[in-house]
Every structure is written in C-alpha cells, then in structure tokens.
Symmetry: C4
C-alpha cells in the first residue's frame, strides 16, 4: 500500500466533485492535494475522463515536477500547481476548470467586480483577471509561467492568497486554491456562481457600482477571522 | 422526545427543498418555521451543508434570539428571521437564499417590475428591492437591522406582507415568507422564476411596460381572497 | 370503470411530461385531451402539484364547461381549452405552461420571429403574440375571452391552426395544441426551445433577418404534407 | 447476425450520448459511423425518439445513399453525411444536432470567434458559419447540397477538416465530425460549450479581441501533433 494512499483518495474525491458540481465536461479540469511534510502533491492524470478515473490513477509529483509515484502522465497543468504550492505556502489544494461563466470573464479579460454579499462572504476584492502572458512565456515553459504570473500578480497587486483564493488566467480560465483540495473545489463553484450573478447583474443594470466597504467587511468577517460568527 | 419535534421536522423538510429546487449550493440559505403558541421558531444551524443536515440539528430559538433547544449555533441570519416573526404576526415561515436571478436583481439594486401573470398570480406589486442599509446599521446589529429595514420599508411603501411575501435585500439577496415554512420556500422558487423571466423580458424588449391594473387584479384575485376560483 | 378511463390516462400522462421536460414548476401548467365523439375533454384539476397528481383526479368536462365526471375542480383555464376545442375542430389536445422563455417573449409582447430551421421544421410563420385583451374581457369571462382572442387572431391574421399550433397570450404565456395531448406538450417544448434560441440569436446579432421563403418551405414540407420525407 | 453489427452498435451508442449530453430533445439530431472498408455507414433512422431507439433500428447506407441493410428510413440528413464521408476521407463519424447555443450562432449567421483556450484546445480557427445556400440548392437536392457547401467552403477558406471538425450551417445548426462517431459527438458538445462561452464573453465585453497567435498554437499543439503532451 502506497504511503500516499490517503492523499490520492483526497485528490480523487475532490476531482470527482467537479462533474457533480457541473464545473467540467469530459476532461476539462484537474484538482491536486498537497502533502507538505513529504513535499509532494497528488494530481489527476492528464486527459482521463472523470467517469473512468480511479484512485490508483492519481499521480504523485514533487514541487519540481518529478513524478514520485504513479504510472500515468500527470495533468498538463501540473507545473502551474507546483508553482502555486511552492509560493503560496499555506495552501493545501489547487483546482483548475473551464467552467462556463468563469471562462467567459477570463475571455472578456475583466476582473469580476464585487457587487454583492455572495462575493463578499468569500473575499473582499474583485476576482482578479491576470494580465496577458508574453509570447516568450507562452512559447517557453508555459505552465510554469502561468503559475509565476498568478504569484507575481498577487505580489504586485498586494493580494493575499489566503483571502483571495482564486484568479482568472486571461483567455484561459479559473485557478482556485484553498486549505484543502475540497476547499479549492468549493472555491471553483463559488467563483462560477459569483461570475454568473455578476454577468446577470450588469445585464440588468450596467451602471451597478461595487459594494461599499462596510458591507464588504461585514460579510467577510462574519465568516473569517477571530470575530467570525458563521458556522459551527 | 422534544416538544418541538414536529416543528423541527417541518423546518428540516422545508430546508431540504432548497437544494432540490435548485435554489442553493453548499450552505447558501436557511429556512425557519414558527410555533406562535410557544413563541419560538425552528431554524437551520449555521454553515451546515444540506447533504449533512439532520432533523436533530435544527435549533429552536425564541423571538429575542435566545436558543431554547439545540446544541448547534443557529443560522447567522437568525435575528432577521426573529424580527420578521415579531413584526409580521401572520407569517409561519421565513426563507433566505442566494438564488442566482434573485441575487442578480438585488445586486443591480432594482425592484423586479411586474410584467406578467406569473408574477400577478402571486402579488400585484413590483418585488421590492430595499434601500441601502446605513454604515451604522451594517457595523451594528446587522441581521437585526436587516429585519428592521424589511419591516420599515413595507410600512413606508404601504406594502402588505400578507400579499407581498418577498423582498430583495439590496446587494445581498432574497428573503421570503408565508403562512408556513413550505410556503416561504415556494415563494423563493416563485421569486427566482419571476426574476429569470423579468431579466429575459427586458433583454428581449427593454421598453416593456408593467402590467395593466385589470390584468394584475384578475390574476391575483383568481388565486386569493373570497372570490378565488383557483385550486381545490 | 369510467368510459373515459383511456382519455384520463392520456391526459394524465401528457400532464406528467411537463415537469419531466422542465416546462413547469409546482402547478404552473395544464394539459387536456379531447374525445370528439362524446364531446368532452379530460383536463388537469386546478392547483394540484404534479407529484401528487393521480389518474383519477383528472376531470371530464364538456365543451360548455360542465363537469361530466370527476370530483375535483377542473383547471382554472378550462374555458380557454373548451373554446379552442370548439373552434379548432381538428385538434386533439391543448397545453398551457409558464415555461421561462415562452413567458419572456409573451411578457415582451413580441412575436417570436422565424430565424432558423428548428422553427421552420414546425411552422413557417412567426409564433404569434396576441394583442392585449380589453379591460372588459379581462373583467368579464376572462378564460373564455382568452380562447376567443386566440381564435379571432388566427382568423384575422389568416393563420392556420393546423400549421401554427401555438400562440403567446400577451403578458401571460403559451398555449399550444396538436392532434393529441402528447403533441400539444411536444409543441410546448418546441416553443420553449425556439424561444430560447431566438433570444440568444438576437443577443448575438440584433440585426438577424427572418428566414428566407425557400428555406422555410423546404424544412416545413420535409416534415409535413404529401411530399414529407421525414420520419417513418 | 449482420456483418455490420459492431458498426450499428457504435452508431447506436454515439446517438444515445446526445440526450445524455443535453444536446438534443425529441428527435433533433443524428449521428453516423463509417466503415471505410465496406464503403458504408450506419446512421440513425429518421424521426425515431432516442428513448425508443434500438440497435437494430440503425440503418446501413452506402456513399450513394442506397440503403444496404435495415428496414427503417434513414435520417433525412443522410445525404449530408454521405457527402462528408466521400469528400473528407479521414473522418470516421458525423454528428448533427440542434443544440441551443450552436443554433443561436448559426441563426445569427456569425462565425464563433476564437477568444479562449477552450476553443484553441480543439482548433485554431473561428468556427465557420457557412454562406447561405442558393434557392436552387434548397429547392433541389437539399441535403446533398448542404454537404457540398460544407466541403466547398472548407476548400475556399483553406480550412483543414482534420483540424476544424465542425461547421455551422447558416440558419440551421451544427455539423461536426471526427475520427469516430464518438469523437464527432464529443465535438458537438465542445462546440456547444464554446458557443455558450463566446455568447457570454461578448455579453460581458463586446470589444473582446480574438486570441493571439502564440496562445492559439500553444494550446492546439499541447493536444495535437507530434509534440503533444496532453493525455496518456
């Protein structure tokens, strides 16, 4: 029995939530779960349909993208996951999908503006759409560069990856993360719902302003931090 | 056996309808059911996912927000429910969701205009979007103030909470109520459907006028009042 | 055993297709099936939720709206069905829903323009949105007047109810019919799909023209008339 | 046992995916699978609902549209399939649907512009919307002419049918193909998803430019050609 059995199981279960939540069709997404102690993460194999995925297909990879265990090729987005684990030291899982509304915002090249409390329950910033990757980055080590662009943008914009657990890769789609793989998937579903609400809101009222500061903070701190009073 | 067993069961069943009707994901909603004789209501515990919710998790709270029975923390929106029960003496249940179209209208800050008979079958007024809460109210006893704003707005606007069983809390989402918890949930589904139709109607014809008085009244009084001839 | 048992069964099954096809929630629709020989039709009882509907609840009504068999009150829209059976002598079933896209067009007060072959496979005309009912008609024998307005509009506009098996009652929603109750329900689903496609088409290209005559006729006569070559 | 049993089974299974993937209602679509060695293809019979379709109903047809085996009439679109098999020698399956978003673009008469990597993962060109068929072609051998227009447009536009495995027949809907019937159906689902994303993208930002060349090529060649590194 692999020492990574529990990690693979966690990764497998988080991946299987994607089709259940309506976030992927076919092979359009991947989730990973990290084991910080051993410096590895478990990730979906590349191009395997969810209905055929098995726990033993999950691949164990280290932060330098070496396969540690597994017979299948890991997700083509593996280097993006690795980069995020290396530079966001507190995250436990990463999720990538091509969910419809998140992709639409990423293709439109727009941040998803914070206009309501569904958004503020999860983060107080607009959901950032990254700047364009350079041609050199695209033609070079593309997936590594994608991870780097996420991390660099968070640094430049002063965004805290423990609050803002999601980003839109321009023209591509969402990456989300969290303290566990399950939370990363949860964040992908939240992002999709918030993106849908935002598209409709601007359709109904193109002049909708963003949320005022007091309301942003009220909702965020109902659920986060030492004075949170949401949940058990 | 608790004396509130039937009340808890009613509350539980009404809550479980929310995911079935597509009105919530994860923990994004809560329903309560009142027992007027004992001056208490049963409400969903805070932050518990619907697929894990059990009847015995339901919390019994009085109108001053004291937990009367139950080991879990009640919904973070409990004070809004309590305020509504106190000031709308004829209602039996309250429901709150973050359903997509209702939230979009709430974020857009617009009343949902009455443009058809699906709407008029349930109420003859536009579905009101409340004015903004003041910063003081947000930073103070927020959920209590939210309830107060609903009640005050109904007074100011001359709306009858027995006819208009729903309101949009601006930038937040819908609260609905009714003679029972089941009816409150029903109203949330009606509001979502009417909000979807209204968004599409204005997309097709931005100049759509509101319904004429005769048609509003015809449909409302087909289903309500002493001359109603709808139903058994 | 009732002599109308088979008719009730047909009516029941057609009604039960409505929630399956996503055309209704709760009690928002009704289907009837006619027995021309006996001059009666079977119709859903008023206000009964689909999940509780039983074959024996179906009500038998004559063309003058008298209940011939059944203990429940027939649909509040019964008089509209009766009027259609009386004046469209070749139809076998009638269906009414509040499906989302059809209602949106009805609320917008617009005919659904024929822009593609999905539409032309079923009819060569725009799907008509009726003119407004007068206040007198609304306050008078409303459901009877609704039927009359459908029939009168078809006469005025020269529409053939055997080709155009559907109409939008302005501000209300769709009525459809066909050679059987099942076909009437089929037409409600077609109308909903065509209405969705039309809304999106104009969203993508507001200048989309209607279909040219040759293509309308090609598709309609592939499926209808003596030279039809679609189906078995 | 028919020598075409396996071919019929492949065709049947691919057809049955259409309702599962939400791409058809009723009889609105058809899939075929080719046997190049014997110069025949298996295709859905015309007008048979998916829930009643059986393997033995599948019809075997040669490239000149002669029925080789089967008692039912083949799909009314058979000649389009035959024309594609004849002129696109490397394809193994063809699929036609009336899926909502693909039809909306076809009715709008617009190519679906390439704006993201979901699109570029599958093809680097815009998804072409064909020019209008002439009245003579519509009134003549319509389904044959539809096939011809697809093939001629690909020649004129310099599109490679092994890369661009899909086209929108103007005012009608999508035809897709691929190395197998299953792949043709997959492409129909991809087209629908990409069409949905594109409609939303332009709704959010009407000025969205198309994807830059480096990103188009990066994503396409991650999954295709000798340097592909996606999948197993």
């Amino acid at each position: 029995m692999s020492k990574y059995q529990a990690l693979k199981q966690e990764c497998y279960e988080a991946n299987m939530q994607l089709p259940e939540l309506g976030l992927v069709i076919f092979t359009f997404g991947n989730v990973s779960a990290v084991d910080r102690e051993n410096g590895v993460f478990a990730i979906k194999p590349s191009g395997v349909p969810y209905e055929k995925l098995k726990v033993e297909d999950i691949v164990i990879v280290d932060f330098d993208n070496n396969v540690v265990e597994g017979t299948m090729r890991p997700s083509s987005d593996t280097k993006t996951h690795a980069y995020l684990y290396k530079h966001f030291p507190h995250i436990g899982g990463v999720c990538h999908t091509h969910s419809t509304y998140a992709v639409a915002w990423a293709q439109a090249g727009k941040d998803i503006p914070i206009m309501g409390t569904t958004h503020a329950d999860h983060l107080t910033a607009d959901i950032p759409c990254l700047p364009e990757l350079s041609d050199a980055a695209i033609q070079g080590d593309y997936e590594h560069e994608t991870g780097r662009l996420i991390v660099d943008t968070f640094l430049t914009e002063g965004l805290d990856p423990e609050e803002v657990e999601m980003a839109l890769v321009k023209n591509h789609g969402p990456f989300t993360w969290g303290k566990s793989a399950e939370k990363a998937v949860y964040n992908s579903a939240v992002l999709e719902a918030v993106g849908h609400m935002a598209q409709l809101t601007l359709n109904i009222n193109p002049e909708t302003p963003t949320l005022k500061q007091t309301l942003k903070e009220k909702h965020y701190y109902r659920k986060h931090g030492k004075n949170a009073y949401y949940g058990q």
